[in-house]
Symmetry: C3
Subunit: 494 residues, 3 copies
């Protein structure tokens, strides 16, 4: 089957339609919340609130910026490890996130910030929109290299919608605590993405196997992503926690868990290689699993040693997953998981949900103080029959709801994305920037007559290639990379 | 004409003279402001100010650091897209900004923070100095690759001076609002830079055309710059706004505008390519136009949907500019704009000024509240005859003053920079790091006898080159890049 | 001597043992401090503390995140300048820092935050742990490329311990002020690292000389590290200063010093090159010396012009050090300092200590105010016989204690690291990622028969190499880099 990957009308029309719809919906629904609206000056005076510093902005904005960096630089560069997919990794992540945050402001706004006929947005909404998009970035990791930007926009549209519904069920109906999103962001995002890539299974993907690995510099670019995710994860898990001690504690716990996770990831990476060498894939990914797995419990009284134990376990589980589980999933279950999100977000997300449920079910007034307990689990005044074991059970229920939403949603969205007119690439053109990006003339040195004349000869070491195939393949990348190709050696030297 | 690009005395003398002058001027004029001076402990007690948290530092420092990253990493890496000009892009930007912030502390200090015989600096001065330098970084984009570091220091000296005068006229005389600097930073910087590059027109610049494009990894480095600019722009536009709701609102508006701008930039980039492919130049630049264009209005009651509309329009205008206007400017008006700053800062800056004027002229007590209106436009008490339409007219006047200052200043500075002794490169050596940076021996593999013997033969495909030219050109880059050059192919293989 | 660099058991066992020990020690000793513990809600009510904003978290967390970026991205990427050591620079720095911060939380906790049987950790402890690890990152710069990750973990274990003892002597016994760590972090770290590398002297290191230089893109990666260090250094020096004016002043002073340092580094770099060209090594490193050298005095009343003078001097001293002193140290004193830490941290650290001592000895109530002086030097109430000259003398004593600890500790740790079973690389394999990282099959294009047949011939320009050596050397890097190697030219073209 020949795919038409020319997006000249499909991509512009999709972008413009979505953006026009967003403008209209924002015009009808979105207003500033009271902390971003100057009217508070007239009304708050009676309430003896004298300090601008009490504005929510100053509690949340530094964390917001850190989360923002994680979504755009963290996820974007983490996926640049592929040798010929850097433009798309960073660029498509940029596109889907820019669309997703707008749509998330609306969807989450209708569920959580809608009153007096308007959605009222403030800095916490911006953080939550970034969180929601984080779940799309996770799913993007599973389908990386195999979908068109139009498909990504469609996926983002549906995934943000489903995320918001799931989040509403968990946070508002089940009253689950999930400040760092182990369930809502990571588990949901990972299993949604895995289901989509399972539906989009490509049996001939081995044809672009060569491009599915890294080159030296692409792995360094990916480390930029890894490190910004790792460093700012304490901000991620604490960004929407209660003011004061909860936010403080969430940062400490995440810091501890991530540190422990690095050591066990390195240990396993070395132990599982026959010569004891480290693998950049593990260092780039498994080291982050500790942040995922304290997402739910970070703001609770997990204790620093509890965080270390969680990080310890996740570094091991995640690295084992990369070595044994990912190949198994691809070979047996036909799940082609480009970035290994099952190891970084799937399993650690489930572990995080369980850790959260256990930690919540152990909560009591000795550990939290009387007021602290009420504040941490939000039952001050109106939830009189709250108890810890019930909270634990609701937490566990939240995990199952998230998994169910991810699987059912993923199947539906996967089937929609399988329709043949979204401009998806052929199996042999996956993981290749040149399909959707202008790369030839600007990027590479121009051909000279010398090269052209070389190309009149067939390639001696690839007799199966006709003269035309050979030209096309070299031409794809321009002639400078001809020199970097093993085939070129036979032409030039042998 | 042969240019002498040896900077051995010119650059050190310029740097040291400027820095000595700065030390002396700082010694005479610069002191800490009251929030950075321990004397407040003795004096403020009576005033019942009990909290350290009220220190301006905590309101502004996180935003300051974000702005700082935009100036040094954002602008620096944005310009690394050129294949052989990465050291200069990052390094010269570093140099001019480090000089510029010191000079701006003095210039802006004399205009805005000078009392009791001293300039009193605090964190807001640091932000404003970074802002001022931002305008120089914008202008640097127009002349990138065609000027020496000595010329850049001279340009910075004059541009910071002119910037400060212009800013004083706008903010203090015309009482214009321009928190994010659509007029003072972007419009002024862009048209100043364009005028300078127009004066410095190089008719034979096509001789270094080959180096004026990107290579694969250089485009990824540039995306680091793009993303840090994009992510931190909400901090840029809100950094010096009033405490509380204004700062909060400015961040929200910028966030919205930038998100919308990404979608329309992508849409236009694809629509304007014959195969629907995306162009990295647009993704790197046009996506940022939304931040420029809400610079003036971000802290006003622009409303989230207003921000989306601004971003929507700017993504389109900016991408169209890259495709149609930049080639036109170069071919017809002899304006060689290396980074396309007219599309990213020029037009969006003007749009931002207009949006600001319109938004200000619509201000009223219904929208802002009574106290909010007074605070937002600073007329509480002493400006009794203020009205919105007058504010709008002054805003518009500010745009024309900025344009006039940029054009007149740019002509004068351009003429100064045209003097032949600043070490500027010849037309065929533009966009080349090796002119000003030690690159050969450390950077590239050393030549072997094998290569040397090859160079005894003239280049068959460049008959116009004598043996000596050929050696020089190859020698410039060292022998490893010989292999990456198309010319090398003819020697080795053909 | 043939070294066994297979770490399959050594590295995993070391990591897992250390991490298990940390989990146990955290379980026994580490608890949240009162600002991260919900019990404060029950107890603080009586004390009329109404604002969450007074939580230490909001005073320190933004600075903490900046410091965190400096340690992981700043130091990690600064060291990627080596052409074939990027994975190890970023990856090993990641590993040692992740271990070091946990161990530092314990060591520093026992000395400074231990009461009621527990170490109480909050955000300030996280910052101090990062600081402590900063000193290990400094020392890593001296031994970069010549040690195994197991050696680095052992070094970190001992250096963090010694750092904490030294810090306790300085801050608690001598009551020295050193907020930005000129003495405790930079001087100690640099001379410790230099002593270790002196003990580990490798007489045949010239065999891997070729890989000890940079390539074009590796220098750009290193600039990411440089810039994040440079930009966030004001946060580093102000992170643990007193709230309010001290933190504010420390940021201003560091900003000024760093800006001046850039200009003099550029001046000297150009002046010391025979053609006036700039050297990336100086731009990457010497520009940062100004931050090191105001570490002690930044929070004092150094005045902005004082900071400029310090930066001015350090840019000169540091660049001179790179040009003249580093080669001298290697040739005469057998100190092989890979990153030139003596120029960036050693000499500037000593200068910083002296500047701090002088500034402290000039302190008086005119400059600081009565209360400000008491607060700045912590003698309010209990230190009745404090005077400035005494403070200055103790500051100077702190420098000598740090140097002594570094030298004695460095000798002991160096001897331990010299033991032959830590998996260190042979002299000819230094500065090479492939020793400890899986790079071949994923990273490089696979060999074809064409290349294999070329390798049947001995290398004509390296007659000393046997056929087997030649294959091994090419095979090390895979065949694509064959084309980038000068040796390849002789095979292909000559």
């Amino acid at each position: 089957m020949v795919w038409n990957t020319n997006l000249r009308w499909r991509l512009p029309v999709t972008c413009l339609l979505l953006q026009v719809a967003l403008v209209v919906l924002f015009g009808v629904f979105v207003r500033y919340d009271s902390d971003a609206d100057p009217h508070w000056l007239d009304t708050k005076e009676q309430e003896n609130s004298t300090s601008d510093m009490e504005n929510e902005f100053y509690y949340r904005y530094p964390s917001f910026q850190d989360v923002h960096v994680m979504i755009f630089v963290g996820f974007g560069f983490l996926m640049t490890f592929l040798q010929r997919y850097g433009y798309s990794s960073v660029g498509f992540n940029f596109l889907l996130a820019a669309f997703g945050i707008q749509w998330a402001l609306l969807m989450q706004g209708w569920f959580h910030s809608y009153y007096q006929g308007y959605i009222h947005v403030g800095v916490e909404n911006l953080i939550n929109a970034d969180f929601c998009v984080g779940s799309v970035c996770v799913a993007f990791g599973a389908v990386l290299g195999k979908v068109s930007p139009v498909q990504l926009l469609i996926m983002t549209l549906f995934q943000v919608t489903l995320f918001s519904v799931n989040e509403y069920i968990l946070l508002s109906l089940l009253e689950v605590k999930d400040a760092g999103g182990s369930m809502t962001i990571h588990t949901f995002g990972a299993y949604f993405g895995l289901t989509v890539t399972w539906i989009l299974y490509r049996p001939s993907l081995h044809q672009s196997k060569e491009r599915q690995s890294a080159v030296y510099h692409s792995d360094l670019f990916a480390m930029i992503g890894t490190l910004f995710l790792w460093m700012y994860w304490p901000s991620f898990n604490s960004a929407v926690s209660n003011h004061g001690d909860a936010q403080h504690r969430a940062a400490i716990n995440t810091y501890c868990s991530l540190a422990a996770c690095v050591l066990t990831s390195v240990a396993l990476s070395s132990a599982l290689h026959k010569k004891g060498k480290l693998d950049m894939v593990h260092i780039q990914n498994a080291t982050l699993a500790g942040g995922v797995a304290v997402g739910t419990a970070a703001e609770m009284m997990l204790m620093p040693y509890g965080s270390l134990i969680v990080g310890f376990i996740c570094g091991i589980v995640s690295t084992l997953g990369f070595v044994y589980l990912t190949p198994f999933l691809e070979a047996r279950l036909r799940i082609q998981d480009t970035c290994g999100i099952h190891n970084l977000h799937g399993m650690p997300g489930i572990i995080g949900a369980i850790v959260g449920a256990v930690t919540a079910s152990c909560a009591n007034a000795d550990v939290y103080g009387v007021k602290g307990l009420a504040l941490a689990f939000g039952f001050d005044g109106f939830k009189t029959n709250w108890n810890a074991s019930m909270q634990g059970k609701f937490q566990a229920a939240g995990l199952f709801v998230s998994l169910a939403m991810a699987l059912v949603g993923g199947i539906i969205v996967g089937i929609i994305l399988k329709l043949p007119f979204w401009g998806q690439p052929a199996d042999e053109n996956c993981f290749e920037d040149a399909v959707y990006w202008e790369v030839s003339s600007r990027d590479l040195f121009p051909c000279t007559k010398g090269v052209a004349s070389l190309l009149q000869r067939p390639c001696p070491h690839q007799p199966s290639w006709g003269l035309r195939d050979w030209k096309l393949r070299v031409g794809d990348r321009g002639c400078s990379s001809l020199l970097l190709h093993p085939e070129a050696l036979c032409l030039l030297g042998a």
